[in-house]
């Protein structure tokens, strides 16, 4: 419950943030909503001698939909995502997924940037961002660089972000077609036993493109290119679903924990993906 002492900073611009990160390296961490970091600090599982609060840094909030591109500032909260009619019209899967994350209080504080940068495979947004083929914006001492969500995750809590970089935004093309974020969990606020993000396009009664990513079934989110490909050209019948599920099962690598043994998780992953595909298809 009691976190270790730290030096606290509340810079008002990104230069200030980067200067502190440059000075203290991995002894410094940014604080967004605080709803993964503070719990870890309270358990003394995260040691953060220098804590940089981003709340006063300008330019990190907000949702824009422009020219077919959607951009979410990193400090945009889950509540703001849920409440944005513009975003829901442009990419309804964001709202559907956000409503399955945590609980009301946590959603008021927790941010999209924190969710995707955290690196915990339990987080829901990373898989969703891979499904949407999102791009993460990272600012560091040499300026901004862009990393595909599909290339960002290396292992549990290991991402492509360097210690002196800050994730400032996520962006993605406005998705087309049907969508679903389906999540099996033990209770409200739990990380997924298995979850699936699906976007699917239907033309002339057939699937012309499909994107599928899975949550909490490996030490990273899993974009299953083959699972999506298995649906393309089909009418998304049982055989196509079977093929997609088989492809997905070939890509995940769950571990046993108190959500269940490996075989159970693979079983749940299969069911969840079927449901997600069916729902996305019905909306396509």
């Amino acid at each position: 419950m009691i976190p270790a002492a730290f030096e606290y900073y509340r810079p008002t611009d990104m230069d200030g943030v980067l200067a502190i990160l440059a000075e203290h390296g991995d002894d410094a961490r940014v604080l967004a909503g605080g709803h993964s970091l503070i719990p870890m600090m309270k358990l003394r599982m995260a040691e953060v001698p220098h804590l940089i609060d981003l709340q006063d840094v300008g330019g990190l909030k907000g949702i824009t939909v422009e020219g077919g591109t959607i951009r979410l500032g990193a400090m945009t909260t889950q509540t703001e995502i849920i409440g944005s009619d513009t975003l829901t019209a442009a990419a309804p899967i964001l709202r559907e997924a956000s409503l399955q994350i945590a609980d009301p209080q946590v959603r008021y504080m927790g941010t999209i940037g924190g969710n995707v940068a955290n690196g915990d495979p339990g987080n829901d947004m990373p898989g969703l961002m891979q499904c949407l083929d999102a791009t993460f914006h990272l600012i560091g001492p040499d300026g901004t660089r862009y990393v595909a969500a599909r290339d960002f995750y290396e292992a549990a809590y290991m991402t492509d972000r360097e210690d002196d970089e800050v994730l400032t935004a996520v962006s993605f093309d406005q998705p087309v077609g049907g969508y679903a974020y389906e999540k099996q969990k033990r209770k409200i606020g739990d990380y997924a036993t298995a979850a699936a993000a699906v976007q699917i396009v239907k033309e002339g009664g057939k699937c012309t493109s499909a994107s599928i990513a899975m949550t909490n079934l490996s030490d990273t989110p899993i974009y299953s290119q083959e699972a999506g490909a298995a649906l393309v050209g089909t009418v998304v019948d049982d055989a196509a679903m079977d093929a997609a599920v088989a492809a997905m099962l070939g890509d995940i690598d769950p571990t046993e924990d108190n959500r269940g043994p490996i075989e159970f998780k693979r079983h749940v992953a299969s069911l969840i993906l079927r449901r997600a595909i069916a729902r996305a298809w019905s909306r396509a």
Binding site: M1, I2, P3, A4, A5, F6, E7, Y8, R10, L31, G34, H35, I38, P39, M41, K42, L43, L51, D53, Q55, T79, A102, D103, P104, Q105, V106, Y108, M109, I188, G189
Partner: protein
């Protein structure tokens, strides 16, 4: 490190100023420093919501906010929602509908419910249960909490209509 910070907060309309270590959790500030002991601590993993307060218009678990982050904030706790001589409609309703037993979750429940009804004055039962899902209760089984919140919604809406 004894790097104390100068902190200024408004809690239940009163301005508070003090020196505190940045790592002090807001719930500890309220309870131990300011003697505002309605908000409780039921866990150390941000699940239970017994510490819920309203911070700058948001329902927040005050166990997961450093006092440093809350510097400059406006905070309302159960003590600012009503008092024994002037109960808030929710407080009366929790009493009438038996929405509490041990009372440990109640301050967080009512603080959250007040914000919830502000955002959704005409909720369905599903809305209420989902909107209150960040608050755990060991005693009631939730049924009477839902009833109390519904009854309050009706009462507040009737009062609003009467005023129009």
């Amino acid at each position: 490190m004894s790097n104390k910070m100068h902190i200024k907060l408004t809690v239940n309309g009163e301005e508070q100023e003090f020196l505190a270590e940045p790592r002090e959790l807001l719930i500890h500030t309220l309870r131990e420093r300011l003697d505002i002991t309605g908000p409780h601590i039921g866990c150390e993993t941000t699940h239970c919501g017994a510490c819920t307060v309203t911070l700058n218009g948001k329902s927040v678990k005050s166990c997961t906010v450093f006092v440093a982050q809350a510097n400059g904030a406006d905070i309302t706790t159960i003590e600012g929602i009503g008092d024994p001589d002037n109960l808030h409609a929710l407080q009366t309703s929790f009493k009438e509908h038996h929405g509490l037993q041990c009372g440990f979750c109640t301050p967080g429940m009512i603080t959250r419910a007040a914000k919830f009804l502000e955002e959704n004055p005409n909720p369905t039962e599903e809305d209420v249960r989902f909107g209150m899902a960040g608050n755990l209760c060991r005693c009631t089984g939730y049924q009477n909490i839902v009833k109390a919140i519904f009854a309050t919604a009706d009462e507040l809406n009737a009062a609003k209509e009467a005023a129009e």
